[in-house]
Symmetry: C2
Subunit: 321 residues, 2 copies
């Protein structure tokens, strides 16, 4: 059994190879550049952990892990085009550095190479794994489209928002675990529990992320507090607030839209607290975490095999503030 | 054995179903819209013909044909974004009608669903077919990138241009045939001959297309003659001309760049003829066609099984002018 850190180190070493042909460099150099920006490689490690939960790591799990990480990077390259994001992890995005057409095509070819890694595994596993893989890929696209649709709407239903966040961010985490588990010979019940663990963990993480943006300790959080508020981004906090706010609070929120950054942050934090969405978000996160731990509990393997996943969950989602 | 027309009719009937979930409609409605624009469905029919060359049509061939057609449409949607094309087959392109972000994502999800059809075939065929499929998908991306790179260059080497056209347009035709053949149990030699037939046929078709744009009978050709010349598009004719033209002809070509449509077309046609690229293009097409027919000849199946492919080749590429 290996910890997240051990698997992350091992994966990073194996993934740090040339994934692309050299020609045409105008297509593949941007792809290598983007992978070089790095990232936490959470999804491929989840795939390895899902696999190791049921036995020794299968050599094919490394192909699947690489496939998942390439798929994830393809979605980031395309999302950055759609969001017109200039930076990713402090570095210029692909479309910013190489133009939108090349970024589009670099994303496309990265997805093809993701499928190529997938095709390298033993034949008997390809169909069930591709089934989950394709379903997840489709859902990630759906989540991104819903996110863009929601950006244009004044009000978004909380339930629809949760569904969108689930598709956009959680299903790939959940599927990474499950794909590793399929390769490890897990039965359908165990696959589903592990998937539910990943999905709920992802949702808890997102709630925490939204919460910390508003109420986090700037020193510990590592990001500018209030960034989402200034950007007018739809978050769990804002959507819940819009659902419960009084007419007077709605008027105040409308006013604050035109305010400068500092008064906007201060004003919105006041309304969040008055609406009680800080406590609500803590409870929501707790609810997701309980569901995640329950799902992990339900997996029929020896308890000690679950330790690395428990530790990872505790690391990703802090349960005290 | 079935003719191209019979298989085209049968494929169109089977393909005219709902390929996408209904929600979110903002993502999937554009996908259905684009498929509804139609097209000649050449690639899926080539897959069926490649399959039938070696026996009865395998039920899985219909999944592969659908997969290939979806893949092809995904590339068209993304190419239209990159080329900023307002129309495709006389209808608004996806990005024109729904915006670039949705077009990007609609293309992505169409590719995922293309892979989903591929994953439905019997497990023992998936790996060899995915190997060719992924290689081809990668090459199509490479061809598109090379095409964009060439657009920015003053001079392009004829050999590099042929390689680009091969990747951008011919490999998918060739791979469609080959994928059908793999499913039909063809050996590697026969697969390669069939692939070579498709690749050379595609190149001959492209040379013919470039030739007819300049020298075709407007009534028969169905397009405005000289469209490529007015657009300043790099074609077989222009690239060869730039290789063989005298200094004086180069000066004249530079002058014509600023000319109005009619004098530009007339001037360029004069230079094409003076450089002898009309006869050169006819010979080049003939060379590709001979290579295609030779490759077809080399396939070790009964001659009468090859008849539909011979007829298709003769239909696509007319050998007299």
């Amino acid at each position: 059994m290996h910890s997240f850190e051990e698997l992350s180190t091992a994966f990073t070493a194996r993934f740090d190879v040339q994934h692309f042909p050299s020609h045409p460099a105008t297509l593949y150099e941007p792809a290598s550049y983007f992978l070089g920006i790095g990232g936490k490689r959470i999804r491929p490690v989840l795939c390895l952990m899902g696999n190791e939960l049921f036995g020794e790591i299968d050599p094919d799990a490394w192909h699947l892990a690489a496939s998942i990480e390439l798929f994830h990077n393809f979605t980031l390259i395309h999302d950055d085009i759609m969001d017109k994001a200039p930076l990713r992890r402090g570095m210029p995005t692909v479309h910013e550095k190489y133009g939108a057409s090349t970024a589009l095509l670099t994303g496309d070819v990265m997805m093809v190479i993701a499928y190529d890694y997938l095709s390298r595994i033993q034949a008997q596993h390809i169909r069930p794994i591709m089934h989950i893989y394709n379903q997840t890929a489709r859902e990630v696209c759906e989540g991104q489209q819903m996110d863009m649709d929601f950006e244009k709407m004044d009000r978004v239903d909380l339930e629809a928002y949760q569904r969108m966040i689930g598709l956009k961010t959680s299903v790939l985490l959940a599927a990474s675990l499950r794909i590793g588990a399929i390769l490890g010979g897990a039965g359908l019940g165990n696959q589903q529990h592990l998937y539910d663990f990943g999905k709920n963990l992802g949702l808890a993480f997102q709630v925490q992320d939204d919460y910390l943006d508003a109420f986090g300790d700037p020193g510990k959080f590592g990001k500018q507090v209030g960034g989402d508020i200034v950007a007018g981004k739809k978050t769990f906090l804002l959507i819940k607030t819009l659902e419960v706010a009084t007419a007077e609070q709605h008027r105040r929120i409308d006013e604050l839209k035109k305010a400068d950054a500092i008064p906007k942050i201060e004003g919105m934090l006041e309304i969040f607290k008055a609406c009680g969405v800080d406590a609500w978000a803590r409870e929501l996160k707790e609810k997701y975490m309980q569901a995640a731990y329950q799902a992990l509990e339900d997996i029929a393997v020896l308890s000690r095999r679950k330790e690395p996943l428990k530790q990872l969950a505790a690391f990703l989602v802090q349960r005290e503030y």
